[in-house]
């Protein structure tokens, strides 16, 4: 199943490779935010909030017992953060908890988004990933 994660990451890397500069890559990232599986407004609560971001970001994780996979939904009130959340969800969605737990995000380097993983960054990308893995550990 990790192959699926890697495949999705590869797919994203290939898509980003079509863009020649950082500006168009950011524009694409922002567009990706529109495709995020949306979280219901009533789920935008502290329980699903990712803390440590300047903007507000929520990610909800549900375990589909029949398929044994995690389903993620999310949103943010900042477009770049929402794009990053969409990116991570696209990789991890409908994956088994054990796969989510082990997923790595080295591909962010290849698409020029590595800088967002730094703990200095206030978009909470690292916190998002940590919280998604934490939810996965509850079902692993």
């Amino acid at each position: 199943m990790t192959v699926a994660v890697d495949d999705r990451a590869r797919e994203i890397v290939d898509e980003f490779a079509l863009f020649p500069d950082w500006m168009s890559r950011y524009e694409y990232l922002i567009e990706m935010g529109d495709d995020i599986p949306p979280i219901d407004d009533e789920d935008k609560t502290d329980a699903h909030r990712i803390h440590g971001c300047q903007s507000k970001v929520w990610i909800r994780a549900d375990y589909d017992e029949d398929r044994g996979v995690l389903m993620f939904r999310g949103d943010s009130n900042a477009k770049i953060t929402r794009g990053l959340a969409a990116l991570i969800i696209r990789v991890l969605n409908e994956q088994p908890p054990a796969v989510v737990q082990k997923a790595d995000f080295d591909f962010l380097d290849e698409i020029g988004m590595r800088e967002h993983l730094s703990s200095q960054r206030s978009n909470g990308l690292a916190a998002m990933i940590e919280q998604m893995k934490d939810r996965a550990s509850q079902y692993a």
């Binding site: 950082w22 300047q54 903007s55 477009k79 770049i80 206030s122």
Partner: protein, 414 residues
């Protein structure tokens, strides 16, 4: 398109910029740095960097008790730095300049010493535009000693309500603690008037001067506050060093802050007598190197023509403010008549974080968020702002670069 009219002042900003090596770099490929985060920290001139280097290379030793030559040299340099700072703020005597870790520690020092004399029901008056460093230490006193915290409101344009401040003063008020220049809005508060109001009723005043000292020398005697706090790193000095200035009688009345070496006169297991000011409030080995380099920074800043600096910074603020107003959906936050060179902005439909991220990619260093003033952001109903803050070494070209980047960012994000 940007117009690059010459700055109407004699201030030679191009020459001054040569003093700051960090301003000459690219932060991304082919993307030179435009540093507009000066309210967070300033860049350092070569002389300050060299001074730190020289101290560690050839003078490093502990101060005040050494019999050897190196220690005497370090002590002289440390005390000369105190004199340089004294001169910069026009304190009456060097003993009134206490070195601390920064504004935050200076305020905490006052809260932990002056605060000891406060009783349940006593009141401290602050304002809606305070930095967390001038809120939280008093809240901690509220929790431990049962004092009350009163908050003076501001108007929508960021002006302090002096009538409300006057009304907030009662016979239980023990301190007015107010920011000189708001880090989030740029508002310059009339601290001399505030001191007069409070002193008329015998109430001491603490002024948070973190954002004032970066704009040139100040005169603590004219301001008349009982305490004046600031950080070195915002005025071209190193991080980790700051100052608590106090009126002499006030400082002399304070109990010791931390116990340890350097702050004592004589110690036996039965009894300790304390050293005189300023050492009584500087326990332990001080931050010698950074204090010495702060002295260099103070001298550097003092040598700039304050009037030319003021004119130059006012021009930058006026120019940048006028230019950013042309950007669709952008609102300037903080429009007090008397403002320092801080330009806070909010966007109708965009999160400041998004705009700041794009600006960063374009080489523009600004700050986004609540600027450690969460209650102020709540008061203004904003999630935060995007803040560009100008120093004397910034130029109209920097303002133009900011405006161009804001145009690019808002186009990309809409």
């Amino acid at each position: 398109m940007p117009t690059t009219a010459p700055t109407p002042a004699t201030f030679d900003v191009d020459r001054v910029r040569q003093d700051f090596p960090a301003l000459r770099q690219e932060v991304y490929e082919d993307t030179p740095l435009v540093y507009l985060d000066n309210a967070a920290t300033s860049q350092k001139p070569e002389s300050v960097i060299d001074r730190l280097n020289r101290y560690y290379r050839s003078e490093n030793s502990n101060v005040h008790r050494g019999v050897h030559r190196l220690s005497q040299n370090a002590t002289d340099a440390y005390e000369e730095a105190r004199e340089a700072v004294r001169s910069y703020i026009n304190a009456a005597a060097t003993e009134q300049v206490i070195f601390t870790g920064g504004t935050t520690e200076s305020i905490n020092l006052v809260a932990n010493t002056y605060g000891q004399r406060l009783e349940a029901g006593d009141e401290i008056v602050i304002t809606e535009m305070e930095h967390h460093a001038n809120i939280v230490p008093w809240q901690m006193l509220r929790d431990t000693r049962g004092i009350r915290l009163k908050v003076v409101p501001i108007s929508d344009d960021g002006v302090l309500d002096l009538d409300a401040l006057n009304d907030a003063l009662t016979d239980r008020t023990r301190l007015v603690s107010v920011v000189h220049i708001s880090n989030a809005l740029g508002t310059v508060n009339p601290v001399e008037d505030i001191v007069d109001l409070a002193h008329d009723r015998g109430i001491p005043v603490l002024v948070d001067g973190a954002q004032s000292v970066p704009h040139g020398p100040i005169d603590v005697q004219r301001i008349g506050a009982d305490f004046y706090c600031f950080s070195g790193h915002k005025m071209c000095g190193p991080t980790g060093i700051g100052v608590l200035y106090g009126r002499r009688e006030m400082l002399e009345s304070l109990p010791p802050y931390q116990g340890g070496g350097d702050m004592i006169e004589e110690v036996t297991f039965e009894k300790t007598t304390y050293a005189d000011l300023p050492h009584r409030l500087e326990a332990g080995t001080p931050n010698i190197a950074d204090a010495i380099a702060l002295g260099t920074a103070a001298r550097y800043m003092e040598e700039l023509d304050p009037e030319a600096v003021g004119t130059h910074e006012a021009d930058l603020l006026a120019y940048a403010t006028e230019r950013v107003r042309s950007i669709d959906g952008l609102r300037v936050i903080g429009t007090a008549p008397n403002k320092a060179s801080v330009l806070s902005m909010a966007f109708e439909d965009l999160h400041p974080y998004d705009v700041g991220t794009i600006l960063d990619r374009l080489g523009i260093a600004v700050r986004t968020g609540h600027h450690c003033t969460q209650p102020l952001m709540q008061r203004l109903g904003l999630p935060g702002t995007l803040r560009a803050s100008f120093a004397f070494y910034n130029t109209r070209d920097d303002a133009d670069a900011l405006v161009d980047a804001l145009e690019t960012a808002t186009t990309m994000l809409r």
